[in-house]
Amino acid sequence: MSFKVLQPGLLSLIQDLGRFGQHDIGLTTGGPLDSDAFLWANRILHNESNACAIEVSFGGLQLLVQTDSYFCVTGAGLDISVNGVNKALWASHKVVSGDEIKLGYSSHGCRSYIGIAGGFNINPSFGSSATVMREKVGGLNGAKLAANDILPCAKTTELVRQALPESDWPLYGQQGSNEQESDAVLHLLPGYQHHLFDSTTRARFFNSQYTVTDRSDRMGMRLEGPAVPCPSEKMLSEGICLGAVQVPADGQPIVLLNDRQTIGGYPKIGAIIARDTAHLAQLRPGDTVHFEAVDLFQAHTINTLAQLKFNATPLLHLKD
């Protein structure tokens, strides 16, 4: 019982919520860059939050259904179809053996998540199925999906179909812009070496606009804008968390993402909250952001409110 990959697209990776508790042997977390869209796919499908889905970057994935199931695509805006018939995003759809699911290329946002009822059954390594290509760990042999890969799954013939109302769909990048505010806000907790950056540099950092560049991957996203160099020289390598904002000698900030190395030796001005790394991962080169300082209480409030909203948002029930 399985799905088969017909076309993998540019970069399609098996992901669960990530690999935790393995930093002591040098393994990073991996997991969905946009954990919000990933969690929505699983909620819409009545799955456990950690069920395996595929993160599709920029679209292009085609799957052959070999076992009856339901699927749902969330995240980046793109066309999806089953046997050539268009289907809605953020909604579950029934598929039967022989159907072909096709994802187009994303028109806004970058990362899409395709989940199925019950999730794909991928053997975990080090407690997780999240694929980290750099480490050759997780997914299918630690690699991105390739044509003819077989993705095992259980058969599901009955499921209450659900959809997230369009008014609740997240907006990515300039799609969500209005005249007052076109930047995405990245909430940053000053931390790590923040005290080594002088006050002028810090003021410049929080009052400037930064642009997303194409020099970005699952390890980190390079931003471009007014330089905010750190006067400190060489420092000892230390543990790096998700969202840490590292500033190398050129003064251009890099936001570290899911596949970051677990230790590193560049100065860091702090870390943006995980919810904002999720949003950042949907932005495209040329999109702009700015940093806003928050304290731990504010970060906690933002997360709690988002969690309450996620749980309370009603889903539409769809007829077959």
Partner: protein, 237 residues
């Protein structure tokens, strides 16, 4: 140097980083490393299931906790209380792990270079590298990559200006005053001096690594037949 000095800094919404020693000039020292290893144990006990990950490094400890199970106020209080009541430990804590190395100018192309730079014979370089007791200061860069220090000053060498595209698994290498065994084949810019037949990272075996942060490592020289009999592989560089 006051090694008992510690300093807690925010790292992220669910992590703190603890710095050990003088915050204005963090140092590499066996004493600090031993303190960090002992603190790790205390944190594991106190945080228990609230702990997500711990990253010990040269002079710092990143503590990532589960905000569904505790908040930052609890986490900071727990850390403060642990740091205020350090447990007695010796610098010789941690297990001593002996690791075989087939030192070779053929499979460790920089071995001769290091000898030349130091004005030593190759035998002397091997002797110095294998009689020094190293500490595992940090694990990272790649799965199973352990940073061992400190290498005798005479053998310290900067990274290659052009990193190799492929360093074989098991390559024993030196960069600055650190030495390491490459756990898997990967690109790398360290100076290669030999090959180690012991897998440094084995996903199929528990524990996955023969060493952990805070352990001590000593290398011992083996010859080519011993290397092969221990399961070592030879690749042309």
């Amino acid at each position: 140097m006051n090694t008992s000095q510690t300093h807690i800094e925010i790292a992220s919404e669910n992590s703190y980083i603890v710095y050990f020693g003088d915050p204005d000039s963090l140092q590499i020292s066996p004493e600090i490393s031993a303190t960090i290893a002992a603190t790790c144990e205390q944190i594991k006990q106190r945080f228990s299931h609230r702990l997500i990950d711990l990253v010990a490094s040269y002079a710092s400890l990143l503590v990532i906790y589960d905000t569904n199970l505790c908040d930052h106020l609890w986490a900071k209080k727990a850390l403060r209380s642990i740091l205020n009541t350090p447990e007695k430990h010796s610098e010789n804590s941690g297990q001593l792990v002996k690791i075989p190395v087939f030192y070779s100018t053929k499979y460790g192309p920089e071995l001769a270079l290091l000898a030349e730079n130091a004005g030593l014979s190759i035998a002397q370089v091997i002797d110095i590298h294998s009689t020094t007791e190293y500490r595992v200061y940090a694990i990272g860069f790649a799965p199973g990559f352990a940073y061992l220090g400190e290498v005798d000053e005479r053998l310290a060498a900067p990274r290659l200006s052009t990193p190799r595209l492929k360093v074989p698994a098991g390559a024993v290498a030196i960069a600055d005053r650190q030495t390491a065994v490459y756990p898997a084949s990967s690109p790398g810019g360290w100076n290669l001096i030999g090959l180690c037949p012991t897998p440094m990272f084995n996903p199929e075996k528990q524990p996955h690594m023969p060493v952990t942060v805070g352990d001590r490592v000593q290398f011992f020289a083996i010859d080519e037949p011993q290397y092969l009999s221990m399961g070592g592989l030879l690749h042309e560089l």
